[in-house]
Amino acid sequence: MSANLEWPLRRRVWVTFLIVPPLAFMTAFVVVPILSAFVYAFYDWQGLKRADFVGLRNFLDVLGREPWAATTWRAFGHNVIVFVTLMILQNGFGFLLAYALSRQLPGHRFHRVAVFLPVILSSVIVALVWKQFLHPVFGLLNKTLGLLGFGAVTTPWLGLSETALWALILVNAWHWVGFPTLVFLAGIQRIPPDIIEASRIDGVTEWQLVSRIVWPLVAPSATVVFILLFIGAFNWFELPYLMSGLEGSPYGSTDVLGLFFYRTAFGNQSSGAQDFGHGSALAVLMFVFIAAVSAVWTVRLRRREIELS
């Protein structure tokens, strides 16, 4: 490699040719749209036409004025529930599975392929299959429960406000648990075998080994799966859209920010109105929230990695 001042013209042209087209593409279709969203949020929109500059009004509307604010905050609350529950179900269980896989028990290769199988499927397939399986009368879940003698607890899981969001969360965990599992597994496999060996000789229990040695040493993997889950949980859209519909049925009990944003921006069957102003304001708020929390949390998690290593 040489410094660019000594480069002949031909090489300067060559490197420019390599770098500029991808850079231009990224600028045109990632940077410009993101920055535009910030601009659009300050305008009133008439359908697809930008109208008057309205300052912060769209933001104040979605955060504090009806008919937006109540929906925004309810949806936000649901996103928080989804995130916290999946942290335990998806990432917690994923870690446990990763540890089990790392023990190289008989059949571990098969189990590794199996746990990742749902991850490669489209949300559409996962959502539609589980929607049928959760059918109150003919669904596989209630049929299975009936067969096992739990007929009394069968219920229309997606039809009740009390259970619908939890059903969606469980389906999401089924779909994605393989991802944190294999990220954690890669982390565990990077631990030098001597460390595990030595602690076993010192007679630590299995639980101590997992909680005091393995868990701290996979802190870098934890950082990645925590942040990715956070971004995913606050962007959640496909699963609720396909299983509960655009309004987050029943009675908005599964309404999340992704659905509210989509409804506001692109309209729904009942109103059909497109509101790009309020939609952009919601997108910008979600973007800023996700970016800010991810940034602060990443710094904290990285500090944790250093403390634990």
């Binding site: 770098i19 990224m26 098969f110 489209s122 299959v129 595990i196 921006a265």
Partner: protein, 288 residues
């Protein structure tokens, strides 16, 4: 026990407590694999049954010669049309991502110049951006380019979405190639382009496969962008077409499950054949 032996047999814990723990972990793994696979097998099995059979005898072993539902999906719906669109869109997007991604990564990894790090970080920043949230400006942009309701519009968005990860994966790999390779070719009189094309890129294939899988799976499976951008049935992708088809056959569960199974089939087969590359590709970036 030697280190090498320890490597081959990490499960060398002793005593009944350790044995009990291993048993518990084994049960956990078997139960989990069952929960992962059973619903997928049931989906495929229901495709072989009539709606009445699904309702009355869901657990009975299916008659695997009854292909009626599968034939219905293949003959009476636009399955092949959607499949073709998905292949075209995913394939073209990956081609674009790899071309532009390799160009940028090669320039960044093999030449040092002012602004190199800044440009690298610029691409990396794109990794954290959920492009979904920029869908309104993208919609306006595509309208202005007259690319609404077109496959090209989707391809452009997917290339933009995939470029950061491709640059990240390929730059990391290209940096590890020794510069002696370049020097030797240069002494033989090869120019920059020739060195890249004939010496370096053939060595980059494994990283390209990883970058391709990393992006192909989410693009193949995507539902959000087709939902917003494509309305014409003839241009729909497989996941999107599936929702249209579900609406049509709401009450015919046998056909529904046959359709879901056939949609899941292509990627499942490729995954089973290439599970190592799939896992490596999809977790790359998250795994060092």
């Amino acid at each position: 026990m030697s280190r090498a032996a320890a490597h081959h047999a990490p499960d060398h814990a002793k005593g009944p407590a350790a044995g009990a723990a291993a048993l518990l972990l084994q049960i956990l793994l078997v139960a989990n694999s069952f929960i992962m696979i059973f619903p997928i097998l049931m989906m495929a099995a229901f495709g072989f049954k009539s709606t009445a059979e699904i309702f009355s005898k869901p657990f009975a072993f299916p008659d695997l010669t009854n292909l009626k539902n599968y034939v219905t999906v293949l003959v009476e719906t636009n399955f092949f049309l959607y499949l073709g669109n998905s292949l075209l869109i995913t394939g073209t997007s990956i081609l674009g991502i790899l071309t532009l991604g390799t160009m940028a990564a090669y320039g960044l990894a093999r030449y040092s110049f002012r602004g190199n790090i800044a440009i690298y970080l610029f691409f990396l920043a794109g990794l954290m951006v959920p492009l979904k949230l920029a869908v309104i400006p993208l919609f306006i942009q595509m309208r202005d380019l007259d690319l609404l309701d077109s496959r090209l519009g989707l391809i452009i968005i997917y290339i933009a979405m995939g470029l950061p990860s491709a640059v990240f994966i390929l730059t990391g790999f290209l940096r590890t190639l020794p510069s002696e390779l370049e020097d030797a070719a240069r002494i033989d009189g090869a120019g920059d382009a020739r060195i890249m094309w004939s010496v370096m890129l053939p060595l980059t294939k494994p990283a390209m496969v990883i970058a391709a899988i990393h992006n192909a799976v989410p693009i193949w499976n995507d539902f959000f962008f087709p939902l917003v951008f494509v309305q014409t049935d003839a241009r729909k992708t497989l996941p999107q077409g599936l929702t249209a088809f579900m609406g049509e056959y709401t009450t015919n569960w046998g056909v529904l499950f046959a359709g879901l199974t056939l949609s899941a089939l292509p990627i499942t087969i490729v995954y089973i054949l290439l599970s190592k590359q799939f896992i490596q590709g999809m977790t790359s970036g998250a795994v060092k």
